[in-house]
Symmetry: C3
Subunit: 354 residues, 3 copies
Amino acid sequence: MSLTKADNKISKGRYFEDFELGEKIVHPLPRTISDGDVSFYIALTGSRFAVHSSDVMAKEFGYRARPIDDILLFHLVFGKSVVDVSLNAIANLGYAEVSFPQAVFVGDTVHLTSTVIGLKENSNGKSGNVYVHSQGFNQNNELILSFKRWVMVHKRDHDSHLQSNTIPDLDEVLPLSDSISLPEISAFDTSQTGCQFFWEDYVVGERLNHPEGITIDDSDHTLATKLYQNNAKLHFDDHMMKSSRMGQRLIYGGHVISLCRSISFNGLGNAMWIYSINSGVHANPVFAKDTIYCFSEVIDVIEHRRKDIGLLRIRTVGLKNITPEEVNSVRDEQGKYHPYVVLDLDYTLIIPRK
Amino acid sequence: MSLTKADNKISKGRYFEDFELGEKIVHPLPRTISDGDVSFYIALTGSRFAVHSSDVMAKEFGYRARPIDDILLFHLVFGKSVVDVSLNAIANLGYAEVSFPQAVFVGDTVHLTSTVIGLKENSNGKSGNVYVHSQGFNQNNELILSFKRWVMVHKRDHDSHLQSNTIPDLDEVLPLSDSISLPEISAFDTSQTGCQFFWEDYVVGERLNHPEGITIDDSDHTLATKLYQNNAKLHFDDHMMKSSRMGQRLIYGGHVISLCRSISFNGLGNAMWIYSINSGVHANPVFAKDTIYCFSEVIDVIEHRRKDIGLLRIRTVGLKNITPEEVNSVRDEQGKYHPYVVLDLDYTLIIPRK
Amino acid sequence: MSLTKADNKISKGRYFEDFELGEKIVHPLPRTISDGDVSFYIALTGSRFAVHSSDVMAKEFGYRARPIDDILLFHLVFGKSVVDVSLNAIANLGYAEVSFPQAVFVGDTVHLTSTVIGLKENSNGKSGNVYVHSQGFNQNNELILSFKRWVMVHKRDHDSHLQSNTIPDLDEVLPLSDSISLPEISAFDTSQTGCQFFWEDYVVGERLNHPEGITIDDSDHTLATKLYQNNAKLHFDDHMMKSSRMGQRLIYGGHVISLCRSISFNGLGNAMWIYSINSGVHANPVFAKDTIYCFSEVIDVIEHRRKDIGLLRIRTVGLKNITPEEVNSVRDEQGKYHPYVVLDLDYTLIIPRK
């Protein structure tokens, strides 16, 4: 019981030097997912995907109840990694190989562990990139979420140097699995989902200009991020952010993914399940009072050996304060994202066949 | 699988020509109502009607659990009709014959169908009025909500014309039913409800100036409307609304009804059940930062053959940014609503007798 | 059934003369606590105390499920007393002897009674202080919360006078009980709580500068207060408050306690249970857009006869728009709180021993 010990009770988050290749991190704070979380997610996003809205429909599909929306699950689990991985992050550089191997239900308790799979020092000597493979489990230790992400983290000591860089191989697209954790779909009632389109109706190259826009305000984005127990200060602390380059609180990028997913319902309403998120880039920051729009492009129409379902590889581009109809290009001539592009998401959806 | 098909995946909502007299519309998106929705409704409105707050009290009344607040149920079910009926509405013209034939509980799954009962072209040739009779059901297909409403909808083609107009007969007041779906009230503890007044205490012509006011902010009204999965763009999309006549997002009129109902608790605390909404007019738009007040007038004190309960026909007038004490008239000399009047609601409440 | 009676249906709250020494008040509105309330509390505060987050962890401790967070319970129960005690309060002067004798769970229904234990007229003749002892019970009438508080209330008649003042004796610190309602802690997994410090690690005089800040916006604080069914107008009614000295809505002091408690997680993460709140002062008002910070001081490290747990008496000082590192003194030379101090809370926490 020493004063030195006492002085060190505040966790300041990890710096680049604090990560070790191959290290396994057990993230704190298991979370029981409740009906309250599900209602909150609908209130935050306006989501209308039917299988997450109705127990009756979910049971018709063979579930024991409506499963948790994949993106809600992602936020609740991802939030746990912030305290250990990205509290001192300069930037969230990307996601890859995000998969949802098993459905999660109200009452399940989820937890998360991560393994450091890559470390790369940046040439300026001031920071480095940390690559982690994070795995979420339910109360029976069954894998329910897997993802890789990489973040740029400050170095504590600019004179310390890594012996060698390790950059992991990441799949550009999550490989297709023979077995997909989804009950066999025997009957599908489009009058309940509000969308009449099946896997066979989509064509490669097709673009969907989703017509809805949702404006974000300070209370709703901070409620979202606090709900996910994500404690990255830049989302909450306006006093601190006022003296930052941004001048105000930054909206959690995951909330923007949620809004785009919700907006994409109009056009993709039957694609209710996410097989994988292949890559995601938060191209520009989003602030309160911005209105989010998006459009989607069909990158690939993928056949599966299951005859009741197929897959669609989709690119959804999130926009701020500009409608999809007004947008012809995502990047400028130098290859830089236009300032109105806020999200570039490549993901694979599961959708019933006719 | 054709490109033409692919081009048409975005639902733009129905125009006047898309409605056919007698047509039955099955609205998508059944919804399981949860504890989360109930908490959200309390947080959005501050509602204090006791039977919706306490399982213990509800069981004393003979319910299996606290029933869902009637207005919350209305919003959750009504929200489903927006996508098919009012996405292109110029105005929501009115409600009539709104009834709540059976209590709904957490865990129930509700869905909605509508029948087109009237069509009337407007003389300018640009729009028409659509009358629908909407019926909500629980998972056992028992009727739990019935209402009629009419909306003004854009025509797609100004040169097309309806052969003849059909305007349905609507009851000015829902007729009194011999059987009311409410357990028999044997004991009633006013110390639990916070109100000491029974049916016998109210007199026709009496006016109640409810003292509370509630200010609406952007996050709370948009959370409410998204919770109800009501996707009318004018409530969410500030970018679009900035170039509209209103200049900003319009608050969902149903949220204003909820706030007035909550505010009316002080004076009508034991009138915990809604028998019917006879008519409702959103007299003026409400925007963020407006403070809602209201007063109520007793239009009728109605005896029922059940001796444990009686009914009160009430007119509640919603106001913005002016207290009830300051208001002497609802309409001006030309019969137009004063600009501070936002709601004119005629409804019938059920309240215990002594 | 008379018009006079009809005129008096609006409850205006009690004035000083309406309280009688020894009087017992049964507060209305029993409340069933639900999963929705729990999710809302996490969204409002970002709370990360593990026992309230995970059913699995709670069961490892011997609970039947995750218990309700003590401060959430306090708000839900306290809210009931506003209508009878503090609707006409000029100021909430203080709390004392707040204790949590028994854990509360989702599905429990709580109610509240208060006894008037003190009355003191103020020398200006215009107001008086009312002291109440409030006790919350669950559906089995087991005591689950006990607290004393005193408020300054307007007199109705400045010429009426109290015969004699009665000021109750209040404990400066709640006495230590031999029996603490907490399952015996046999194993404690710090990797799940995110904090490695036990009772033995804290020393008297130690100061913890909690690094996080949370900015409050209008929607979130009004959602919180409405969730608690606390109907004090000054939190909701911006129209009224604009013409007050404050010029805007005042944030419910309890919400500030919640935010400080949540922020104190970083440093006090294993002190998951509140034994008592010994005293609390809302030193300055908090308004929307203020950012809340706090620091904590260890006042006492208290041994208990149970060997699995110990107690920490903590003072947490809430700040607005200034970080803990910048604050050296809480009061100025005249003994007045600095304008940036918003909360001075003295409370005793329960924390596992090694």
